[in-house]
Symmetry: C2
Subunit: 405 residues, 2 copies
């Protein structure tokens, strides 16, 4: 429960945090303005700002002018005080970006994933990271944190990748540890859909929403949920496993057990199967079906419409259980406007108030942006976070119940 750290630094730490937060929120401002915003005294602000400036986190920006009274020196966050690495490791592509403390991307690259897998991938990641850091002009000790997204199940504590579809061998080695060793920085690994959600929360349609959902429609179907600003993981990290929603087919049909009832119906394989069942001949991939749809293929149109008709209830289910402010659709299939409009149409037929829908604005970079955001959050918290994080007081233990954790 309680911390055993001495509580001396806690007051100053709160002040540091408060000042940083004010600068993040309000942009370049003077010390006097910070004092007004934070309620701390001018004296204290001067001390804190000097401390932060000495350590390189802040820098002078300019001076105020035009207003009555003496002009003031304004300060801003020193964007180049630290850098982070965002990564998105997919089965076919490896995306990576170096960003500064303000989240601005300084260098970004996308390369095909080394299909030999295992340590080859690790080496590829490390080499790319070094190349990007050099290109962005990041000094040797400048990189502080990295976050990598990857499909499959990731242990949130250790970062071990338990199931890694499409990338051979990475579930047998400690990727995070190997990268930490090669790059000299802490690397956290996170599920890519979860990071995409964080990306949407930061720079996409989820910005400003306390609660929203992001659904990735592609080969498979996955969902990430942000509730009250925080990622919802569930008891076993399996929250958002929308593929297993008993919608779009008979939940008691064993054919849906493997991939999940919903994914069997509306995953890319389900769509292709449906197109073929209906007698379509234009191709076997979803991309080809969409191309046929554009060319006026009636069977493709029916296929996509039927897919939308099956997806709409799934969105109703999400709305009923989570009540998100908006549901953002992403993934290679989810961003197609043809499908989107058909889903909209069917949603309106379900009665009640349909959920607000949006197509991902940041598209296939969502996980990368989320990785950068996650790394920045980690960085901020490690620099200016509090050791003491007081939550609600736990209720006393009563009767036969177990105590709160």
């Amino acid at each position: 429960m309680a911390t055993d750290a001495p509580s001396t630094p806690v007051a100053r730490q709160i002040s540091l945090r408060t000042v940083i937060q004010a600068l993040l929120d309000e942009g370049p401002i003077s010390r006097a303005q910070i004092a007004k915003i934070t309620g701390l005294s001018k004296q204290t602000i001067s001390e804190v700002v000097r401390e932060l400036e000495d350590d390189g986190w802040l820098r002078e920006r300019g001076r105020t002018q035009g207003v009555l009274g003496r002009s003031a020196v304004t300060y801003e966050i020193n964007n180049r005080a630290a850098f982070v690495l965002g990564m998105d490791l997919g089965g076919t592509k490896l995306r990576m970006a170096v960003a500064d403390l303000a989240g601005a991307v300084l260098a970004e690259e996308e390369v095909p994933t080394d299909l030999r897998g295992g340590l080859h991938v690790v080496e590829q990641i490390a080499a790319l990271a070094r190349r990007l850091a050099a290109r962005a002009g990041v000094p040797a000790a400048g990189l502080r944190f990295g976050v990598m997204g990857t499909p499959g199940v990731v242990d949130p504590e250790s970062g071990a990748i338990h199931v890694a579809p499409n990338i051979p061998g990475v579930d047998r080695i400690d990727v995070a540890g190997a990268l930490r060793e090669r790059l000299g920085i802490t690397i956290a690994i996170e599920n890519d859909v979860n990071l995409a959600v964080k990306g949407e929360q930061w720079q996409g349609h989820g910005a400003g929403a306390g609660t929203f959902a992001f659904i990735a429609l592609g080969t498979g179907i996955g969902m990430g949920i942000v509730a009250d600003g925080k990622l919802l993981r569930g008891a076993r990290g399996a929250a958002g496993e929308i593929a297993y929603l008993p919608i779009g087919g008979d939940p008691y049909d064993p054919r849906g057990f493997m991939l999940g009832t919903l994914e069997t119906a509306v995953g890319s394989k389900g769509i292709a199967d449906r197109y073929r069942d209906y007698g379509g001949t234009a191709g076997t991939t979803v991309r080809e079906i969409f191309t046929a749809l554009e060319a006026g293929d009636a069977i493709a149109a029916v296929t996509i419409d039927e897919t939308a008709r099956l997806i709409a209830p799934a969105l109703i289910a999400v709305q009923a259980l989570i009540d998100p402010e908006v549901i953002v659709l992403g993934g290679s299939i989810g961003v197609r406007t043809e499908l989107f409009e058909r889903i909209r149409h069917h949603l309106a037929r379900c009665g009640h108030v349909p959920p607000r829908l949006a197509i991902s604005r940041i598209g296939n970079r969502a996980a990368l942006i989320g990785a950068i955001g996650a790394a920045l959050t980690d960085l901020h918290n490690s620099l200016f976070g509090l050791d003491v994080k007081p939550g609600d007081l736990s209720l006393p233990t009563v009767g036969g119940a177990d105590g709160d954790p």
Copy 2:
């Protein structure tokens, strides 16, 4: 964002909180033990304990003995330092209890709700509260907080009851304000299902679970979700509206629009309709159908089995989206073991790993217990809470995205 309160008291406030928390967690302990647990110095602990004892929150309990060294005075929370009121206002019954600071119920009573509604109900509540306080021997200024659960939609900020089924007129008056006036304490009003969830979290099957769901099956069907220890409300406070889950019927069938597809199928009316459709003659209420089932009525058995067959996929949906540690069933229908066993059976047929299920342990007192818990949490936080509640630092605004709130 930042506070404008002076930060002087924050250090002592953290210390006060830490000591209280240690006493809540570890029961009666000596000052020296508190010092060890919290990491604060013995000196500071002595000061803090003296302060708390002077204000009546702590009291001496006894002395340690039998161990090496000087014996120590042990302290404990003074249970009788403050009292709270828990209330559960239903369409037919009004339940109320007075509890002490440790959550022990000192007086409890259940009366029929005054069916005249409106101010009559307010007067009834106030009178019952005074009677219970007197019976529990609570001094005049002893009651500090009250929380009341009620069905329908409650504005989380103002406590205004927007929709109050079965109780005429309470949606047109400021119940919380009227009670505050009559009882002289702060009264918060909360949705009863949400409170039932809190009750399960505190003293029921949710104890110790970070994420779980509570489903109330009765006249209607409702759900409350606790995610990472916190109640999930959703963007419009409509999270957990499981009645609208598009399961158990055709989601495009307008007959399900009013009550919701799932509730139309498995609400008490849906069950009764099904029994009649199958040719059942034993009665028209669910209670009568269950009685017939016990008497060996085959049609009742089929009705209940079919109901369970429809409910199981809804639970699968909850598991897929939320991944709860356990799903607790409550409400007059949800606690019936006959139904529970049938649901279990059908869940096992859905493939995948079925969610862990449990029947509510605290039954129809769940909302009342949750109200007591909520009132205690409010009380603790008002007494020993921090003004500053630092969350994660917000990410900087980048590109065209809006800033974080």
